[in-house]
């Protein structure tokens, strides 16, 4: 029997089938439009002149394309009282994300390895307790974290945010690597042990070379989560140390002067670009991360 019948649809032949197929595509296309419209609106509006944002409508394409709003959003739009555009905040996010992603991924890898391939007593309990940290509402840690950052002298700093994201990313990175390493045969570990390899030797020479799929999923997941974070950024940084999401929110909600919607949209696009590019290039790994987030790893 062919795959058509097997995939669940018993398809009557002839015109009726053609009509059904057409309806199916129409429905799928309509949904695609529904999801795409906000993005299209953002792109179109960010390329319009200020004049045209007022005269045109939501879905009209710009009559003449201008990159002025993008330039302004990048280095001269006002965020609060400072008018240097999103650039400094974008750099804050970059400074924050590189160490936070690397450290949390590295720690998650070794933790996941130790918890699965060296199953000492209590390993499952430790994992369960750590995993819970991935699901708490972060409101429950905001107040003590603010005080701890203050005590460490990291209040309002990008370094403080690196610490916060590393600590609360650990549960997820451990989960990803545990789910991966649990599928790696323990026979490999035993063979390496007989050859005289130790804990770290096996990790670096046997496990890591196997782990690129898990590393890619984890890095992409952490990158997306940390870049998109707003709650920690708004709670733990002030003014100059804001990450780009917080700065964007300030640009959009600045109520003084003429509202420049085209600049707002350009600023939103700039803040979105890193995660959007990662998603376009490596979307399937992001989806795997989502699936693991549902714990079906």
């Amino acid at each position: 029997m062919n795959r058509a019948a097997a995939s669940g649809i018993v398809r009557p032949k002839g015109t009726r089938q053609a009509v059904l197929r057409l309806l199916l595509f129409a429905a799928l296309a309509l949904f695609a439009l529904y999801y795409l419209i906000p993005l299209l609106v953002m792109i179109a509006t960010s390329l319009k002149t200020l004049e045209e944002t007022r005269t045109g409508t939501l879905i009209s394409w710009p009559r003449e394309i201008t990159f002025e709003p993008w330039l302004k959003a990048w280095d001269s739009a006002c965020v609060g009282v400072r008018c240097d555009g999103l650039k400094p905040y974008f750099l804050n996010s970059v400074m924050m994300i590189v160490p936070a992603v690397l450290i949390s991924t590295a720690l998650g890898a070794i933790n996941g390895y130790a918890l699965t391939k060296w199953r000492f007593r209590g390993a499952d309990t430790i994992f369960g307790l750590m995993l819970f940290g991935a699901f708490i509402p972060f409101q429950i840690v905001l107040l003590p974290m603010a005080r701890t950052l203050g005590a460490l002298g990291l209040a309002g700093s990008v370094t403080g945010l690196v610490l916060v994201h590393t600590v609360y990313g650990l549960a997820f990175t451990t989960l990803f690597f545990r789910n991966f390493f649990i599928g790696v045969s323990s026979g490999i570990v035993q063979a390496a042990q007989i050859d005289g390899a130790g804990f770290f030797g096996i990790f670096f020479r046997v496990m890591l070379p196997l782990a690129p799929p898990a590393i890619v999923v984890t890095v992409i997941w952490q990158f997306t989560q940390i870049w998109n974070d707003f709650l920690f950024g708004v709670a733990f940084t002030v003014g100059d140390s804001n990450p780009v999401t917080v700065a964007l929110n300030n640009v959009v909600n600045t109520s003084t002067g003429v509202k420049e919607y085209n600049v707002d949209m350009a600023a939103a696009m700039i803040a979105a670009l890193p995660t959007l590019l990662v998603y376009i290039v490596a979307g399937r790994y992001f989806v795997r991360g989502l699936a693991a987030g549902a714990l079906k790893g």
């Binding site: 944002t53 995993l131 409101q139 840690v141 989806v287």
Partner: protein
Amino acid sequence: MRRLERWLPQIVVAPLFAISLFFVYGFIAWTVYISFSKSRVLPVYELAGLARYEQLWATPRWYVALSNLFIFSSLFIAGCLAIGILLAILLDQRIRIEGALRTIYLYPMALSFIVTGTAWKWILNPGLGIEHLVRELGFTGFRFDWLIDPNFAIYTVVIAGIWQSSGYVMALFLAGLRSVDDEIIRAAAIDGAGPIRIYTRIILPIVRPVFLSSVIILAHLAIKSFDLVVALTGGGPGYATDMPATFMYSFAFQRSELGIAAASAVMMLVTIMAIIVPYLYSELRGGRR
């Protein structure tokens, strides 16, 4: 040396576990303690029993936040399930461009809502967005001003929330549908069951576990919703679209009512635990076999 080697796994895990004990469990304990204390602007370690909780439950704004959470989560979960399942079934029909469509349906999950909220704000803005567009088309009496109407603003949050998360449900269900054994479907088709019957009577009941995990994930997302509200309405008009997450933030960082903020955070944690702990427990149990 040998002895050290023997303990290495524990030595590596111990500091990481300690970090989690301190930053997760220690911090939870601190917040719980503060919620039972006399703290107002600054943390005070003198206990005050349930005073902060009584104050919280006597705050009208807290009731607004709770009723919004109730409206939001029920419509959000129902909407995401309906659209997600429909899309999963439509995509299950051997579509050649399935990969591209899936990418489109899921991208809102990859972007910050602070970003996409900027677009939604514009689309829902009466003077600029849909209302303006429909009036330009000639329907001058058309009104769509939910965003600035205190009684309806929460529904705009629902619309945007469903837009953002329904693709996730689609992905979960599509994976579920694909895992159903072809033999069962073939047997039903031979017995003369039509496509609708096959889906409603056979396939969907088989993927029932996906319903459960989707509802739990969506409820979890709903309770944590923060960016969504901040970006779209800022909790307004007034505090008409406040939710527990924004309520807590505003009492902690804007109004400096630490005790009440801590009490509201504890209420959030308890709600999430009631949903997630049994789920985690059964998942980990199942995974061990």
